[in-house]
Symmetry: C2
Subunit: 304 residues, 2 copies
């Protein structure tokens, strides 16, 4: 199967700790790299994945709190030092251009590639990126300032040709693409073979939802229904539910409830507050409600 | 002896590597912390020292290349989240205010402490900080843009009182401070005791010189003559001397030659280019000329 990997570069929250780095993830989808958020130190953690910096062309920023974007200027400077010439696309909420462009002008006056910043509104689910195999939608979240989640969906893959039927019916190569697209087949003798006898069903399209930072917004569950993997922030334990509400973050229990509502296959939690020495309790709290839960940690790579 | 510790938070150069972090150091001088340079990720490396963020009041920035200052905004944000109210002083070359203040306004609109930025010229050695026990001078370096080194000097300590003589002569407590300052003593019988019989010589004042980034500037040696410890950048090996000259950096050999000219007690080298897998050759190259050389590495603490 083509690659669809999620690399966790950082899954801590705002205050630095000895265990966690601020938020960043890199998706490797068919050898194209997509970054989500870029906290301080991201370029160094990116280096640890051994992925190629040159394959990164698109960066998605959820919101303009420093722990999600302070690494941008360092990463951009490094890409410039590495001799990049391809345009770099950055998607983020309004205001990102205003803070980032003056820094680029100041620190990279000789920049040899274009940084194209696309700001978007945060009011409704919206398509913000698409290519031949992938779409990315922004999902409005609820946090202390305008914030968006991101939903990465493979385009529905084509079904698999049944080699045995192709050989048996002596179907010529030029007709195979049509059959992949849904065509039936009529032999020279006039025998009719419906498409479903010529193909095996397609592999289900894979879907990755990234929702951070946000408080618990049950009505968002419909927007990421049936995701293969959901990353949902779980800054706090349920014992700090009041604090979660005040700061517009979620608890591990809420993340699990959201995963259940959205009927996803697997839940990955992260964005841990620095107050906890371990995340064992986050895991058990979430698994009580949604058993197929994993803890994010730096260096983790999940292939879906 | 009172503390005079140099903590190495990062000693790499511009490109991120798997081994080194960008430049930052913290000096712990009698429990007051002074930071020199603040590359990306400094706040996290600072956390690893287990020093108290609240004891940091002064940050010295050598020059405005990103690997020496991209960590400032993250550190300032964190100090704000931690509830700081004391002013923070930042010393750096012209331009630092222009890039930093808009970021503080954008990311810390509610900042509860004052950030006082002192820009200084880079043409000659100049006193830029002093307190009761310490002076800091800026030293003009030669690099691709205005750059300053820093020279931290203890004020000459007072001599040590000879307890045996004080007891023998029954000198009253009120007179001791005068003796520390150099007074002689005449007993009631008129016997004269010169100061040097009443005290042991003072511990020599300790001096730390930080010179990075810079090409080899032999005439600067006089400005840090006799330093207890000299940190001199050694980005390259002598085999890359041409590249060092082009980029206005130094080789390990040049750092050692500088240390010899300046007649320092010990040399610490760092700011290694990412092209080297190990710094063993830097060390041997420098030690051939200046045997008392150490390699900087993240987490190293040197007490002088």
């Amino acid at each position: 199967m083509e690659k669809f990997d999620i690399h966790i570069l950082g899954c801590g929250s705002a205050l630095p700790t000895l265990k966690h780095h601020p938020t960043s993830q890199v998706l490797n989808i068919r050898e194209k790299l997509f970054m989500i958020d870029c906290g301080e130190g991201t370029q160094q953690n990116f280096r640890h994945t051994h992925l190629k910096f040159s394959r990164l062309n698109h960066i998605f920023i959820s919101h303009l709190h420093g722990d999600h974007c302070f690494g941008l200027i360092g990463l951009i400077s490094t890409l410039n030092l590495l001799g990049r010439t391809n345009a770099l696309y950055i998607y983020g909420p309004s205001g990102i251009k205003e803070f980032l462009m003056p820094q680029i002008d100041f620190f990279c006056p000789n920049i040899a590639f274009e940084v194209i910043i696309k700001s978007f509104s945060t009011k409704k689910k919206a398509l913000i990126y698409e290519d031949r195999t992938l779409t990315v939608h922004a999902i409005p979240l609820r946090h202390r300032l305008p914030t968006m989640g991101f939903y990465f969906e493979e385009r529905a893959p084509l079904p698999h040709i049944r080699r045995d039927m192709i050989d048996f019916l002596k179907i010529p190569i030029y007709a195979i693409n049509g059959i992949k697209q849904g065509a039936d087949w009529i032999t020279e003798d006039g025998a009719f073979y419906p498409n479903e006898r010529l193909v095996f069903p397609a592999t289900p399209a894979r879907k990755y939802a990234y929702l951070s930072d946000t408080c618990f917004v049950p009505e968002n569950a419909d927007l990421v229904k049936g995701a293969t993997l959901l990353y949902h922030e779980a800054t706090f334990l349920e014992s700090e539910a009041k604090r979660a509400e005040e700061t517009q973050h979620s608890t591990a229990k809420q993340a699990a409830e959201f995963a259940k509502l959205a009927d996803v296959q697997q839940l990955l939690i992260g964005h841990y507050s620095g107050r906890y020495d371990s995340e064992d309790q986050h895991l058990s709290e979430a698994q009580t409600i949604f058993p197929n839960t994993l803890l994010a940690q730096e260096g983790l790579c999940i292939s879906i």
